[in-house]
């Protein structure tokens, strides 16, 4: 206890937060993978996983163990450094945004005054991982997947930032806690419906989910940027993807759906996390439903949609917001 009390309390707090968040990331990936397969099954009038555990609830645990136990295969002609670096690069930066997200009024690892900017910069590192992995694999399918990912990400990061800007104009702050605090009376989704729609569409594209999953389009590019990855490398990409989805959904919750606000609960400053998680998982459910009910877009449609519709509409939205705020 002596050593613990000499350490700065902020450091202990951060270590505890990081441990909780990392374990939550794994739990979230397991839950999301199970939900994904189960919802896919029921959308297609199948049952989905049924045998492993009650209604297949342990399916993803079993899959995880299998993936970890699989041979780690590094092909001969790959760039070994980049090939090994890419999954780590995809998995590590997705932990950091969760440190600044306010899960409830008092459950937040660190309230940065530039929180939103921090999240945006950290989530865009994921594209770097895809590029490094795709290029390092020395495989034409991986390379094409990586190139598509970069083009798509550049196109869709702009509408994301512009739709966030409308909220920032209204609240005058970049701190996530203060943004949620400003939604005490009315959620911003009611004041900024266009920005919310643009954010959700671009968020789905940003996380490479269907109908925008061109970097891993199975019919054209075997498995896209992770064609050459087996076992643990593939599962780290998988973890990165699901955590990114969680981050996008929780930022949408913070910005538009009122964060922890909801009907009051006992110990509201802590139990607000219940409302937060309900909203986040509703958005994630929505994303999964979209994946299993819509076909994939073509690449020119994808880029045209971003540049011709999303960017102009979000610019108009900012203009209107600025005028209204000024008045």
């Amino acid at each position: 206890m002596e050593t613990i009390s000499t350490l700065p309390p902020e450091l202990i707090r951060m270590v505890i937060a990081v441990i909780i968040i990392i374990s939550f990331i794994f739990l979230n990936a397991i839950m999301m993978g199970y939900l994904e397969r189960k919802i896919a099954g029921h959308v297609q009038r199948r049952l989905g996983p049924m045998e492993v555990g009650f209604h297949g609830i342990l399916q993803l645990v079993v899959d995880g163990v299998k993936l970890v136990a699989k041979e780690l295969l590094i092909p001969i002609n790959v760039d070994r450094t980049f090939f090994r670096l890419a999954p780590i690069l995809s998995f590590t930066p997705v932990i950091l945004p969760l440190l600044v997200i306010p899960f409830s009024e008092k459950l937040q690892a660190r309230d940065l005054n530039l929180g939103l900017l921090f999240i945006v910069s950290m989530t865009s590192v994921n594209v770097m991982a895809i590029l490094v992995g795709g290029w390092g694999s020395n495989n034409k399918y991986s390379m094409f997947g990586a190139m598509r990912a970069v083009a798509q990400s550049i196109a869709y990061e702009i509408p994301i930032l512009l739709s966030m800007l409308a909220i920032i104009l209204m609240t005058n702050t970049l701190s996530l806690k203060e943004i949620v605090g400003a939604q005490q009376k009315i959620w911003f989704v009611l004041l900024q419906p266009l920005a919310f729609i643009i954010y959700v569409i671009s968020g789905i594209a940003e996380t490479n989910r269907a109908p925008f999953d061109l970097p891993e389009a199975e019919s054209e590019l075997t498995a896209g940027f992770h064609t050459e990855y087996s076992g643990i490398g593939f599962s780290l990409f998988f973890l990165g993807e699901y955590t990114n989805m969680f981050t996008v959904a929780s930022v949408a919750t913070v910005l538009f759906l009122g964060g922890w606000h909801g009907p009051s609960l006992p110990y509201g400053e802590y139990l607000g996390i219940v409302w937060f998680f309900l909203k986040v998982y509703f958005l994630l459910f929505f994303m999964i439903m979209i994946r299993w009910t819509y076909p994939r877009v073509r690449f020119d449609q994808l880029l045209n949609f971003a540049w011709k519709y999303l960017v102009p509409f979000s610019l108009v939205n900012i203009l209107i917001t600025a005028v209204v705020v000024k008045l």
Binding site: R37, G41, Q44, R45, R46, L47, G48, P49, M50, E51, V52, F54, H55, G56, Q59, V62, D63, V65, K66, A69, K70, E71, L72, L73, I76, E218, T222, A223, H226, T227, E228, Y229, S230, G231, F234
Partner: protein, 209 residues
């Protein structure tokens, strides 16, 4: 004997090709890799058992349909038969992420090198199901005049489970996967815990079975 000689004149020797590929693979292994097919260096009872259980219950097949048996394979993935109940609906397009190769159809001489490459690209541990008569023994192509069909995929790669039929019904493939699980763990899976629509325990009102 004479007839065999004649047929070997018509068919170029594929065995040499297989041997060459195998030799290349094993040199790659001796360069510093570990041959995982040789089994683990250390055996730990319970851990091994759990690992086998996990591997048996998440067999991800490769998206690899060659001929008409592939239609039955697709049927197995669809709503009526639903391979996903056993956790194997994740048809991975990349051989690097798949555990199970379902050879669904006729393997001819032109496809043989492709099939070998795909098999070698799969990371260990890996399994093979030969689906249908063509993949087992050449099926209807196993005749004297045959010049291009490999009579049985087990001449190229080791096969774990054979599912006969021309083509086999989806139930056949499901049974093949259950047999493979039995082969991996030594126990018949699934341990019955959930009732299936097609299981014999199901009682339909007014219907005597």
């Amino acid at each position: 004997m004479g007839e065999e000689n004649k047929s070997s004149l018509i068919k170029p020797d594929l065995k040499s090709y297989t041997e060459r590929v195998k030799a290349e693979c094993y040199t790659a292994v001796s360069d510093g890799g570990v041959n995982l097919d040789a089994g683990p260096l250390m055996r730990m009872g319970l851990t091994d058992k759990l690992l086998k259980l996990c591997q048996a219950n998440s067999l991800w097949p490769m998206t690899f349909g060659i001929a008409c048996c592939a239609i039955e394979m697709m049927g197995t993935g669809m709503a009526r038969f639903d391979i996903s109940r056993y956790g194997s609906e994740v048809f991975r397009p990349s051989p690097r992420q798949s555990d199970l190769m379902i050879v669904a159809g006729t393997v001819n001489r032109k496809l043989a090198p492709v099939l070998l490459t795909l098999y070698e690209q799969m990371p260990s541990p890996k399994w093979v199901i030969a689906l249908g008569n063509c993949a087992i023994s050449g099926g209807p192509f196993s005749v004297k005049e045959n010049y291009n069909v490999i009579e049985g995929v087990d001449k190229l790669i080791p096969v774990d489970v054979y599912v006969p039929g021309c083509p086999p019904r989806p139930e056949g493939l499901l049974e093949g996967i259950l047999k493979l699980q039995e082969k991996i763990t030594g126990v018949r899976h699934p341990i019955p815990q959930n009732r299936h629509p097609d299981s014999p325990q199901r009682k339909v009102k007014g219907l005597e079975l």
